[in-house]
């Protein structure tokens, strides 16, 4: 029931998907923008190369035909002499006089012969500068990221929600499952896995309900049969104990008494366990507005003689506290808490009870304990002063079905503090 969540709340399935998508897409976007940068640079420089090569061929053709150079401003310089056997490219920076900035240029140098002289012609073309390339890359990357984010954050959840909707339908039906209610009908879906899952759940729930009913039946029958047999044991031993003195040897009386005591104890444990399982099965459902102050006062009256006998001083501060619950369980709750505080108190000790509309706090001194108080809330936990398990686990169980928070802690070595917060 009250599932203990591990540290950090679990995340919603769909937002988890979107988040992981973004985490994985981030490096992809960065890598692709780097790639884009080099790609743009490469393409622009190869375009320039192609253009310069075409111009070179035009000049060479022209010089072959006319044995002269064309009047052409693309020619940046004509150098005397042959600087290389073959045409070659080189990059250079040239100061732009306009804005006094160095601009990257691509140059093609090639040898040419006319008038029997050897020359080297330099063709030059402006390259895209780094800033422009980066700007272009950024524009592309931003646009791409924007698209990706829209897809991941808007379109993807819409699609995912539609795809996962049968899952959530099943989940909600499963949440409201109770073995005593009719089985939920898990919807048929178009998705194979969900259909398979729903079929598995159907089988599982059927099995759970079947087992639950069997266990209930078994509990009922056992409790009935056992109480009847225990009644016989108790009645027989009791009648034997009342047989006139002297007719039964003392030793036998002791043995009979032991049988009688164990039978009584067994029947009491069984009654407590039955009560515990009934509470857990929500068999007490006469819920109404209950004033716990009245129940607390009647419990205190019930244990009044015991409190006086142990010379326990009582400090109470009771305010009206209305809670929606079964009045019978309210009574069981208060009785178990007060009983616990009296039983595990010290002689001449005290009990301090504070009842507020929001919480109940009971403090009493007791023996020092090394045990974790939380573990004593569970059934059959043995404390050093005997079995406090059942009483406290009944309190724990009642609190859990009404979603009250129940805390038990030990302060200053031997101050036992019980707190219940109502919602």
């Amino acid at each position: 029931m009250a599932s203990k969540q591990k540290k950090g709340n679990p995340q919603n399935l769909l937002s988890m998907f979107s988040r992981s998508m973004i985490i994985y897409l981030l490096p992809v976007i960065i890598l692709s923008s780097v790639f884009g940068y080099f790609m743009i640079k490469y393409i622009s420089s190869s375009e320039v190369n192609e253009f310069l090569t075409y111009e070179m061929e035009r000049i060479v053709d022209y010089s072959n035909v006319y044995n002269d150079l064309p009047q052409y401003q693309m020619v940046a310089a004509i150098l005397d002499g042959k600087h290389a056997e073959h045409p070659f490219f080189r990059d250079t920076l040239i100061l732009e006089t306009g804005d006094m900035e160095m601009a990257p240029y691509r140059e093609l140098l090639f040898p040419i012969e006319f008038d029997d002289n050897e020359y080297t012609i330099v063709l030059r073309h402006l390259l895209l500068d780094r800033e422009s390339v980066i700007k272009a890359t950024l524009v592309v990357t931003t646009g791409l990221s924007l698209l990706v984010f829209i897809v991941v954050l808007v379109i993807f959840p819409l699609v995912a929600r539609r795809v996962w909707s049968p899952f959530y339908t099943s989940l909600n039906l499963l949440k409201s499952f109770h073995p005593e209610k009719p089985l939920p009908v898990l919807p048929k879906t178009k998705i194979a896995e969900f259909t398979e899952m729903n079929e598995s759940f159907d089988k599982l729930l059927n099995r759970i309900q079947f087992d639950y009913q069997k266990v209930q039946e078994f509990n009922d029958n056992t409790s009935h049969e056992m109480q009847t047999q225990l009644a016989i044991i108790k009645a027989t031993t009791e009648n034997m104990l009342s047989i006139d003195e002297g007719k039964i040897p003392l030793e036998s009386i002791e043995q009979i008494n032991r049988i009688h005591h164990s039978a009584s104890r067994l029947s009491q444990i069984q009654k407590s366990l039955l009560l515990l399982s009934r509470i857990g099965n929500h068999e007490f459902d006469n819920n109404q507005s209950v004033d716990l102050k009245i129940h607390m006062e009647s419990s205190l009256q019930f244990f009044d003689e015991m409190i006086q006998m142990r010379r326990i001083s009582l400090q109470t501060q009771l305010k009206e506290c209305k809670v929606m619950m079964d009045p019978g369980l309210a009574n069981v709750l208060m009785n178990n808490l007060v009983k616990n505080a009296v039983k595990h108190n010290l002689d001449n000790g005290f009990i301090s009870i504070t009842l507020h509309p929001q919480f109940l706090k009971i403090v009493n001194p007791g023996l020092k304990t090394n045990q974790d108080p939380e573990s004593l809330k569970h059934r059959f936990a043995k404390g050093n002063t005997g079995n406090r398990g059942i009483g406290l686990s009944i309190v724990d169980q009642i609190c859990s079905i009404y979603r009250f928070t129940f805390h038990y802690k030990v302060e200053k070595e031997n101050l036992h503090v019980f707190e219940i917060f109502f919602k």
Binding site: T228, E238, L250
Partner: protein, 226 residues
């Protein structure tokens, strides 16, 4: 005082009978629904003990028939199943008291006595035992005509013993009589010891003899009247 018991388990029935006979009740019994209906039609009883779970019918139906035929009689329901629901159901149908299995015979006898007194079947609300006189309607105890001041539990314990003058009452039975299911028996023996000690002190202080005899390790028994 005539009592009719309907209980399908013959072993339990015979022990209940034994206990009631030892307390000077007249007992008759049926082990099934059919038989019980017959007895209800033919005879009259002061108190009916009815087990709810019978092999051939529900004890709750028997309660209805008893109410029709003997409106004056007292009815005590015995049940082992689903105590809380059946208790309410049984009491709604007109039963006077409810006792859950397994119960102490002393407790059953005390309940029958209390029912007698409530229904005034024996016409008196006072119990005498030697110098001790208890007026149950006012919850007053007198010794040699002087009132004795007892606490609630001391009074309950005294009355429990007076209802069972010939029986040994175990500490378990006393604990259950006073606190019902609200106290784990083993933890309450100290309290019972203190209550009995105080009760004895008050009785002796008022001039009566020690009313109780300790049965070592088992419990206590009422001393015969002095």
């Amino acid at each position: 005082m005539k009592i009719h018991i309907t209980e399908d388990n013959s072993n339990l029935l015979s022990e209940i009978r034994k206990a009631l006979l030892s307390a000077d009740f007249f007992c008759d019994a049926s082990t099934c629904f059919e038989h019980a209906v017959e007895k209800i039609m033919l005879y009259s009883y002061d108190v009916f003990l009815v087990d709810i779970n019978l092999p051939d019918g529900s004890g709750l139906d028997l309660v209805e028939r008893i109410k029709e035929n003997h409106p004056q009689s007292g009815i005590i329901i015995i049940s082992a199943r689903d105590a809380i629901h059946q208790k309410i159901e049984g009491l709604d149908m007109g039963a006077d008291d409810y006792i859950a299995k397994p119960f102490d015979m002393g407790e059953l006898i005390a309940r029958v006595h209390a029912l007698f007194r409530r229904k005034k079947l024996d016409g008196s609300s006072s119990i005498k035992h030697g110098f001790i006189e208890v007026e149950t309607r006012k919850r007053e105890v007198m010794i040699k005509n002087r009132p004795v001041d007892l606490t609630r539990s001391e009074y309950d314990i005294l009355l429990f013993f007076l209802a069972n003058p010939t029986r040994v009452l175990t500490r378990e039975a006393i604990a259950e009589h006073i606190w019902g299911d609200n106290m784990d028996m083993a933890d309450s023996f100290d309290f019972i010891y203190s209550h009995i000690k105080n009760l004895r002190k008050k009785m002796i202080g008022s001039g009566a003899a020690d009313p109780l005899k300790s049965v070592y390790g088992v419990g206590y028994k009422l001393n015969p009247p002095d």
